[in-house]
């Protein structure tokens, strides 16, 4: 099973969780939301490939 990494960002004192599948809230944040989401996706891919490699 794929590992789900949930990152988060801070904006105006609020914490936004970043699931790799994204949320409308993230898209609505514009630049910071899209950037954080893309980073979370990339990190998720990295984590999964790392885990895959370790298992090998």
């Amino acid at each position: 099973m794929k590992k789900q990494t949930t990152k988060s960002i801070q904006l105006n004192g609020e914490t936004f969780k970043i699931p790799a599948g994204g949320t409308l809230g993230l898209l609505a944040l514009g630049n910071i939301g899209v950037r954080a989401w893309k980073e979370a996706k990339a990190a998720n891919v990295n984590d999964n490939s790392k885990e895959k490699n370790e298992k090998k």
Partner: protein, 803 residues
């Protein structure tokens, strides 16, 4: 001193009916708060309501036939076609003016803004978010930023990775729009792809806008989103309440899509408002509304721009800021007013040549608009179009493909149609839109000339033929109107139903009301729910002063469309003509409440109030009409008299002086049936040495061409006796006073018989019918002239006094 910033947000197709519902349900809290902190209103669109033309009017303050951006596609100058671009814009946009004045702008996604311009600031064009090559999607790893879509090039690096590709949109993101997507079969999920694309494009535009707002210095930011328009064209048919023809399962599946799109825009708005300080003025506008209720069409015409039938005539305008009123409504806004208002916000003068006006009522600080002759004449650098090097055909084809998918342009059949024909078709199509733009402002001559140039009967286009007939009627070219009408009928270019409605327009133009009524009643049997037919019918009855029939039709219209301002206005007129002034006032106010910029409703409201002896209120109303229709002599005549009545001779003289400068034809026209009273009236005028000329003889002997606009001015005399048959071709613009001598049909026939030495007891039914028709036709003509005063005289006691 730090300048106050302005943020302009464009939401294509945003409509109050949807927004009001969502706000009431607590689903658009950010917009709700913004409205409470500022002003809101309806914004009138232009005809034709096509987005690239409208958004260019919004960004320039000029009508399409002046700004030059027409249609969705344009010739590329190299023998082919391309999506509408900034290349054809003939006037300066707000960002050019701001560049000239040293302000920095961010312009993101504006339609059309490709290729970008080298303005002071940043520009990201409407092609930035495109990810297609023709009908094929370019995969994310090969997705390059196209040339000339970003200015300056240094910002490409920071915004290119903020683009969201449709393939990145997950089901997690689509599920708020289609909560039951899991129930969709494998072949039924194409709508999810469409939603993904709209969402990806909106997210890209929003991400670029927020990045530039956060990292670049700016005085003005404008961001345009087409997503509400696209979501609405794709899914408004599933919006509750369910339309009868919509499948129950599909309705349940997609009923939340439009709502989801509006909610997402509210979420994006929250972020934008969070990025600006209290000193920034924010304005949201849409270019038109979108029918979301029983006005939704069941069928979309299969013609280019056919989906525009779903557009509603009023969009939204909301503004808040340090110098903007709070919690108030503004009235009378048009898309043309946005740039003049922005200039006023920025403390810059407005070009007198702009078609729009500043919305001064939204400002709380009592500021006054300042003007210059024209921004076009000022020779300062305002940015220039970025030249495209190399071949960018792929990009152009992609954008064309998107327009085809949305139904805005015909499938250009790129493979099979030769380029020459494609260009010819586009020129014809755009000429049609340009003609519509002309005729929407009364320039029917220009429209007609253009249409006759592109229309060929060998390759007929029913929309163009239809418009030719309309314009021919408006310019009194009835022979031409009939020629095209007969052609349409003979070639069966339209079905009988549409031909009858068109024929009725010709008959109304010819002042043949009974013929028009017959045709419209026939059409009504085919579609008894047609608001257009019912309104036409009601207006004819109103012209004939058939109050009961008129009110019946207007009430039917209101049952179908309770917000129809024209129906309330018509009811007001019916009551006014029946001297029921209080009821008239109520109906005119109903009309104005729904459509504030309705000068004739204000005019007749003023008349009703004056006749009720509410002089102060009437004066206030006429003063307002003056600002809406400054060239209408009747208003000045009323004000001259009303100021006299309230003992304000200075103001009375002011209005008289304006009237004096209007070069009006001061002659009185006398008309009526050729009966004994008319003969007595003419004798009375002669006895009083009034120069009545010999107009009738002149028309007959000199064979004046009554189709020429100036035929009336060639007639001599202080009082003109004008036979009734000449009324259809009379231009009332400079005329003011008509005296209609009322005679009975029986007396007239007896009088005519006597003159022709026909036996007294001979009764000619044909003559009676003809005279009846002529009399009705004249009444119908008077009903269409808002600016003339008509005195109906049954006895001649007051004749000389009136003259």
């Amino acid at each position: 001193m730090k300048k106050n910033k302005v943020l302009l947000i464009g939401w294509d197709s945003a409509d109050w009916k949807v927004i009001d519902r969502l706000i009431a349900e607590g689903k658009m809290p950010t917009l709700k708060a913004m409205i409470e902190e500022g002003v809101k209103g309806k914004i009138a669109t232009l005809n034709p309501p096509l987005s690239p033309m409208l958004w260019t009017s919004i960004a320039t303050g000029f009508r399409p036939y002046k700004h030059g951006v027409i249609g969705f596609v344009e010739p590329d100058g190299k023998g082919s076609v391309r999506p509408v671009s900034s290349n054809f814009r003939k006037v300066k946009a707000i960002w050019n003016i701001l560049t000239m004045e040293g302000y920095k702008s961010n312009i993101i996604g504006w339609w059309p803004s490709n290729p970008v311009e080298t303005i002071n600031g940043c520009m990201v064009s409407n092609m930035f978010q495109q990810e297609k090559n023709g009908s094929k999607i370019i995969e994310q790893e090969n997705w390059e930023v196209q040339p000339a879509t970003v200015h300056p090039e240094r910002i490409i690096d920071k915004i290119k990775d903020l683009r969201v590709h449709p393939h990145e949109i997950t089901l997690n993101l689509v599920s708020p729009f289609v909560p039951n997507f899991a129930k969709l079969g494998k072949g039924d999920d194409s709508n999810l792809g469409i939603i993904s694309k709209f969402l990806a494009h909106a997210s890209t535009v929003h991400a670029a806008a927020t990045e530039l707002m956060e990292t670049e210095e700016w005085d003005f930011t404008a961001v345009y989103h087409d997503a509400l328009d696209h979501f609405s064209h794709g899914f408004m048919r599933f919006y509750p309440p369910k339309m009868a023809h919509i499948d129950e399962v599909e309705f349940e599946m997609y009923k939340n899509v439009v709502e989801g799109a509006y909610i997402f825009h509210d979420m994006m708005l929250e972020r934008l408002l969070g990025m600006v300080d209290d000193k920034t003025t924010v304005m949201i506008v849409s270019d038109h509304g979108f029918h979301s209720d029983h006005m939704r069409p069941i069928h979309i015409p299969q013609v280019p721009a056919g989906p525009a039938i779903e557009h509603a005539p009023y969009g939204i305008i909301v503004a808040k800021g340090p110098n903007i009123k709070k919690g108030e409504q503004i009235f009378g806004a048009s898309v043309l007013d946005v740039t003049p208002t922005l200039l006023m916000m920025m403390g810059l003068p407005i070009g007198k040549d702009m078609d729009g006006k500043p919305l001064v009522d939204m400002f709380s600080d009592g500021r006054k608009a300042t003007y210059i002759e024209s921004w076009e004449k000022i020779d300062k650098f305002g940015g220039e179009l970025v030249k495209i090097d190399g071949d960018v055909e792929n990009d152009v084809t992609a954008a064309l493909q998107q327009l085809i998918e949305l139904g805005y342009i015909d499938d250009l059949n790129i493979e099979n149609v030769n380029e020459k024909d494609r260009v010819k078709n586009i020129i014809k199509e755009n000429s049609f839109y340009l003609a519509k733009s002309y005729s929407s402002t009364g320039l029917h001559d220009d429209a007609l000339e253009l249409l006759l140039e592109v229309e060929t009967k060998s390759d007929p286009d029913y929309r163009i033929l239809h418009e030719i007939v309309n314009c021919a009627v408006k310019t009194n070219r009835f022979a031409l109107a009939n020629e095209y009408l007969q052609f349409i009928r003979k070639e069966k270019i339209l079905i009988d139903f549409h031909i009858d409605i068109l024929d009725a327009k010709v008959q109304i133009g010819l002042n043949q009301p009974k013929e028009a009524i017959k045709l419209l009643n026939k059409a009504l049997k085919v579609d008894n729910q047609s608001v257009i037919i019912l309104l036409d019918l009601a207006n004819i009855y109103n012209g004939l002063q058939m109050k009961k029939e008129a009110l019946k039709c207007f009430n039917k219209v209101l049952a179908l469309d309770p917000e129809n301002a024209h129906a309330y206005y018509g009811k007001g007129l019916a009551y006014l003509r029946a001297d029921e002034y209080e009821k008239a006032v109520e109906e005119f106010l109903n009309a104005i409440d729904r459509l504030y910029h309705f000068p004739l409703a204000h005019l007749y409201l003023g008349e009703s109030l004056a006749l009720m002896k509410e002089y102060e209120a009437a004066i206030g109303t006429f003063e307002l009409v003056k600002t809406m229709m400054p060239n209408l002599p009747k208003v000045y005549r009323w004000l001259q008299d009303l100021y006299d009545l309230i003992d304000d001779p200075i103001k009375s003289r002011e209005n008289a002086s304006i009237l004096g400068k209007m070069h009006l034809d001061k002659r009185t026209i006398i008309c009526g049936l050729p009966g004994p009273k008319m003969e007595d009236a003419l004798s009375m005028l002669k006895q009083n040495k009034v120069n009545i000329g010999k107009s009738f003889d002149v028309l007959k002997t000199q064979n004046l061409d009554v189709l020429k606009k100036d035929w009336f001015s060639q007639l001599e005399g202080d009082v003109i006796y004008l036979p009734l048959q000449y009324f259809p071709s009379l231009n009332s613009r400079n005329l003011n006073k008509f005296i209609f001598i009322k005679d009975s049909l029986e007396d007239t026939i007896e009088h005519m018989n006597k003159k022709a030495k026909i036996k007294a007891n001979t009764f000619n039914f044909e003559l009676m019918n003809n005279l009846n028709k002529i009399e009705e036709s004249t009444k119908s003509w008077f009903g269409k002239q808002p600016d003339v005063d008509v005195y109906y005289l049954s006895n001649l006691d007051k004749l000389m006094e009136i003259i």
